[in-house]
Symmetry: C2
Subunit: 347 residues, 2 copies
């Protein structure tokens, strides 16, 4: 059966080119994908002849309006009702598409998606989630910036959503869920993380809660799911990306710094390419908006076709694994187990 | 004139060996240093004959009591009055030493130092600060974990202290101070960071406040001073260290993965060693407890003699540059410029 993905053709630094190229690339090995592409026909139509693989698999909906990269989210939500971003999300709501993918303005996309799709039963706030490389298997981290301030309820829900993703999409049999903190002792952190730890410990369900973890534990692969507030998560993600970029740049500098280093590079190149591929940010592109009543994935604005294709696959996986239905089931079970007074669980 | 540093001989994974070795190493190029070493004589005395360079430059004060690595800070403060850690700090208070260096329990050291030394005039809370490598010059980041929850007052004071350190110790003529956030727009973040931004903008003094910066800006070297709360700073530091460690491990794995890669490594080795040296964590060892009425530096517990020697140099630099006196001056000037009602400055 075909799986239709709505694409925001106008979002991202190199739209619409990388969107069309990415859609074509996403078909490889995923012949069931179909695309509903929203964007400016005069810019997109000329790109299609170069992609015969998309023929009969893509429908272009002329949408001249788009959300600017620097638009204020609140303004975009109000004024962007005919934008390519908004119509992509509307297509998920109407059922015309199973998921939406955009490389546009993150805040606007989250705002629109929340207004249009609302949250899943039992989920108060959606979270931005992404997989990151570690020394072992990739880890899912959430929230990465949707919620600057979080309650223990929010963090508990993020834990449930992350665990479901890890289990049903990544196939981890019993995901270890860790709560990001500045130490592993029970007394560390503020009231919210300590209360969230109590809640996650009591939640049972499928959750293998391993307690507090620290920053270096994330990259050490100590957990399969890392739960944190959106402020900490966003800073952590970006400083990890920054550190990786700094190392990559320093390595590149070294391997072009003289004939001897260049020769060493040429000889070690096959292995160094494996290293590059392993940490290639494009392989991890596609941030999921978990907790919404519909699948929406945000591609990095600066990615290329390969990265955009990966974001499409992330969206398709979420749909195929019926992730949202599983989250609803978990939250219903959690609610049925929770004591009548929420305060009692936190005490 | 001699500069006396009090050393906690029993703190850290490899104490007292690395403390003694580090003290000896610290003398190279710093012949004015003298040490007051607190620790178990039966374990330390046998180490000294191997260090003729320390003869006449180190005084050993027999101190059998020490703070355990896993001690609860509050308990250590109450019960560790005769510990090597506490006596090192007491020596700063009495004037017997100009600074104290310990590789022991961070929480206990901060707790004891705050109780014994108190904060500088104008400073409400001390901060843990450290320099980190970036693509450009090293940056100073604070707070790294002393204050889980911060007020805008705290963040403003961290900015002033960081700026003084950058200017008088690192020699940056006009340090750029950035406030860590999840976006650079004025509306991003929670109330505290937004109010702190207003305060830092209004502070004038020497502060070149460049506004909000994001995680990747830290490693890009966009700022000379990065201000953040202790929760975010601690997670950011540890995930940056974790990412660096992950890369280093992956590189090592690759360069030992077959004869071809090994050969490439051997050829490129001189350049790769430069890379290793540039990011060597030992070169950045020595977290400063800024804002205390006395100089206290925390060495990483797992460092070696070179790292410990670096922490000693960090302490000596803080003393030589009269950093605390400069902070007091800045805070006094800030207070004289501040409107009568603190609330008015934050609005």
């Amino acid at each position: 059966m075909a799986l239709v993905i709505a694409l925001d053709g106008m979002g991202g630094d190199s739209a619409p080119e990388i969107v069309v190229d990415g859609a074509g690339m996403a078909l490889r090995g995923h012949a069931d994908l179909r695309f509903l592409l929203f964007g400016d026909e005069s810019r997109i139509a000329p790109l299609l002849p170069a992609h015969p693989e998309l023929a009969g698999r893509i429908e272009l909906v002329h949408t001249p309006d788009f959300v600017a990269a620097d638009a204020k989210p609140s303004q975009a939500v109000r004024q962007g009702r005919n934008s390519s971003m908004r119509l992509s999300i509307d297509a998920v709501r109407s059922g015309a598409a199973a998921a939406a993918v955009s490389a546009g303005n993150t805040g606007a996309l989250m705002g629109m998606a929340t207004v249009v799709l609302r949250t899943l039963p039992g989920i108060d706030r959606p979270a931005i989630a992404a997989t990151l490389p570690t020394r072992r298997k990739p880890v899912i981290v959430l929230d990465l910036g949707a919620n600057v301030v979080c309650t223990d309820d929010n963090l508990l829900q993020f834990g449930v959503m992350g665990e479901v993703f890890s289990r049903v999409v990544l196939g981890v049999p019993k995901p270890r869920v860790g709560l990001l903190n500045i130490g592993t002792e029970e007394l560390k952190g503020d009231d919210v993380v300590r209360q969230a730890a109590t809640r996650l410990k009591d939640a049972s369900l499928h959750i293998d809660f391993i307690g507090f973890i620290e920053g270096h534990d994330v990259t050490d692969g100590v957990a399969d799911v890392v739960v944190t507030d959106g402020f900490t998560g966003n800073v952590a993600l970006k400083i990890a990306e920054g550190t990786a970029g700094m190392f990559t740049a320093a390595l590149r500098e070294i391997f072009t710094s003289g004939w001897r280093s260049r020769l060493g590079y040429l000889i070690a190149r096959p292995a160094l390419r494996k290293l590059r591929d392993r940490f290639d940010p494009r392989r991890y592109n596609g941030a999921m908006f978990l907790g919404l009543n519909g699948v929406v994935v945000k591609s990095h604005g600066g990615t290329d076709a390969l990265g955009f294709a990966n974001a499409i696959h992330v969206a398709a996986d979420l749909v195929r694994r019926r992730t949202n239905e599983r989250i609803i089931e978990e939250m219903a079970e959690l609610a049925s187990r929770r004591p009548a007074t929420p305060a009692a669980a936190a005490s």
